[in-house]
Subunit: 438 residues, 2 copies
Amino acid sequence: MTDLQGVGSPDLTSTDLYEKLNAQGEKVRTLKSEKAPKAEIDAAVQELLKFKVDYKTVTGQDYKAGCPPTNIIPNSNGPAVEDGDDQVDPWNVSTTSAKGVDYDKLIVRFGSSKIDQELIDRIGRITGQTPHRFLRRGVFFSHRDMQQVLDAYESKKSFFLYTGRGPSSEAMHVGHLIPFIFTKWLQDVFDVPLVIQLTDDEKYLWKDLTQEECYRFAVENAKDIIACGFDVNKTFIFSDLDYMGMSPSFYRNVVKIQKHVTFNQVKGIFGFTDSDCIGKISFPAIQAAPSFSSSFPQIFNDRKDLQCLIPCAIDQDPYFRMTRDVAPRISYPKPALMHSTFFPALQGAQTKMSASDPNSSIFLTDTPKQIKNKINKHAFSGGKDTIEEHRKYGGNPDVDVSFMYLTFFLEDDCQLQKIRQVNEHFILQFHQASVCGL
Amino acid sequence: MTDLQGVGSPDLTSTDLYEKLNAQGEKVRTLKSEKAPKAEIDAAVQELLKFKVDYKTVTGQDYKAGCPPTNIIPNSNGPAVEDGDDQVDPWNVSTTSAKGVDYDKLIVRFGSSKIDQELIDRIGRITGQTPHRFLRRGVFFSHRDMQQVLDAYESKKSFFLYTGRGPSSEAMHVGHLIPFIFTKWLQDVFDVPLVIQLTDDEKYLWKDLTQEECYRFAVENAKDIIACGFDVNKTFIFSDLDYMGMSPSFYRNVVKIQKHVTFNQVKGIFGFTDSDCIGKISFPAIQAAPSFSSSFPQIFNDRKDLQCLIPCAIDQDPYFRMTRDVAPRISYPKPALMHSTFFPALQGAQTKMSASDPNSSIFLTDTPKQIKNKINKHAFSGGKDTIEEHRKYGGNPDVDVSFMYLTFFLEDDCQLQKIRQVNEHFILQFHQASVCGL
């Protein structure tokens, strides 16, 4: 909660705040007309002023009675959100805690909902399948509107899945697989269509790469994504550099979104500055557009109202907070979301695995031998100072990277639990195994 | 010339200023090392500081020795340029002078070149045709790099034409025809391909219109444009809302341009603010892209180096100043330009004819009778207070709108000259004729 000068209502939408301001204004007028005690009027006015501060923070506009907010809410937390020492935005993820980002705090800060046991059980009930290990183990830990998706699904109203990847390197690493593995499971158990966006245009805009390189990475990455085993009849993978130039409907949605988002708003949400190129500034609309079924008339038979569910890592949430705010204003349904935690770097959960640092990552192109060497050489164990001490006192699975990787990839809960218990004493031995077989 | 705090060198490019700064820095160092008199060193330092101010104005960046300017020059005149009382930018044209905008001043301010008699004669010589009346009468009065286009043409290196229209209304007015009439003549005499962009996306972003309305206006306007009689085998007319979604090459060029222009720059050139939507902010790249032959691989057989010549009204120049600055940085040739004056509103040359004010405009859909009525009722004559006085003292063709229209549409120079002379005495009578037959 912000408590600078406002009431501290950053989780309220601009519309909520507008209504609160109207109500508070009405209250002040009533008190005045009833000649209430001055102290009471003053307190109400103070409250009104505080709401106005919040309103300005959230909308970037001054409150005017009779003029509802017309624009979207910048993330009240602003760009490059930091909480204690956690930083989580589409370009940076870091924390000082060896256990990784505090995800419970993130839920509060982002205003999303926890994926609790009840929701997990419901997914199991509806699909008739054991919930995926990523649900059982809190890898997908946060959501927006998932209950609504399930309500509709139970009334035979289907949905489609949308996920993506920014192709910044030829080889993907195991961390990149997390949303795809989970999305494949969702596609299997719900039997729904899926679109996968490869944002080669984004990578061209952000990185010192040519369009040809970014496009080639998109093609290479598509192969790894295809290898996850999606339903070939229900999956559409596209490069932005290709698809934008192949679909007037997609471009029309991009322009529609771009008309409804101001620079002030992307500044608030993504931290863009005046020195950023206009390509970056307008890009969020391109990542937003696949959230709407009308961007794919060839797949959805021109339907504009099909609900979208986006499984993604939580750092992508700013794009979809923006999307969800724009959606009702362009008469489209808001996409629902399921958020995953980050896949820890070999060096520890303080940062996520990053393709730009080869020593932090296990690539899909690495050989079993390379993987074994990387794990042995780089994987943080949080162990004791000497092998002898470590053998004697045991490891700490909460910070041990090898064990964390097992929580992502080892399906058998009992075996995982055993390893956890055994390795609280002897975790070192597992550093000497590789993750190749996982 | 600006003389606020800088040297007043707004017409210098960022690169020129960078070099001047390097030279001045060197001069200061030499003076110091030679232990020159303090006054002399101080003067040189003052000069250096002034150049730094200009550099910051032009580039939006601080000068750093060893770091050449990497970005484009915002128009040193900034947005919504005003000179005396003239305002000329893509969204506003106005002046307090009944004779219209001072175009000679505009040439100096925009840093373009005058289309002088020598250039007109050269065009006549090369094409073997009488130069178009728009050249003979100064309607197309300014250019960029036209000599270079002609040099290349004489060495058998061809070029292509690009012009366009923002379809903001169903009916075009006669003023809209000016660039098209001239472009048709250029196409005829040079026998070159032509692309015509209909910026329906721009109109959607700027106006309170739906995409469907803007697209429909584009289709309607295309009919009027086709009626100008372009070579059907050498002309490509496209709506942005369509073509962006049909040409990966076009989108790739748009993104390429968007990567090389910052918000600071479009702010400087177009006067955008933080409250503008991100669609507006990134749009200039879309108007820039047709300047490059690689945006139309289907027409130009994947050639990237074909020179472009853009005939347009001078208010569109900011888009192409930006384009010309970006071009060398993305390895494309700079487009050449020919600029026209504005077509005066019925009420007088203080503003251009505008479709949004029906009483200021003669539409292509108006009947001969409607046109006659509009001329008689609304056309500014600058005449005397009573018919009697006007008949006695004569009219002033320099401010008389009906006469101005004749300069645009009456081909015969002798007849025009006669009318001018006669009507310096009896111009009122011509108000009673209509322009239908023109």
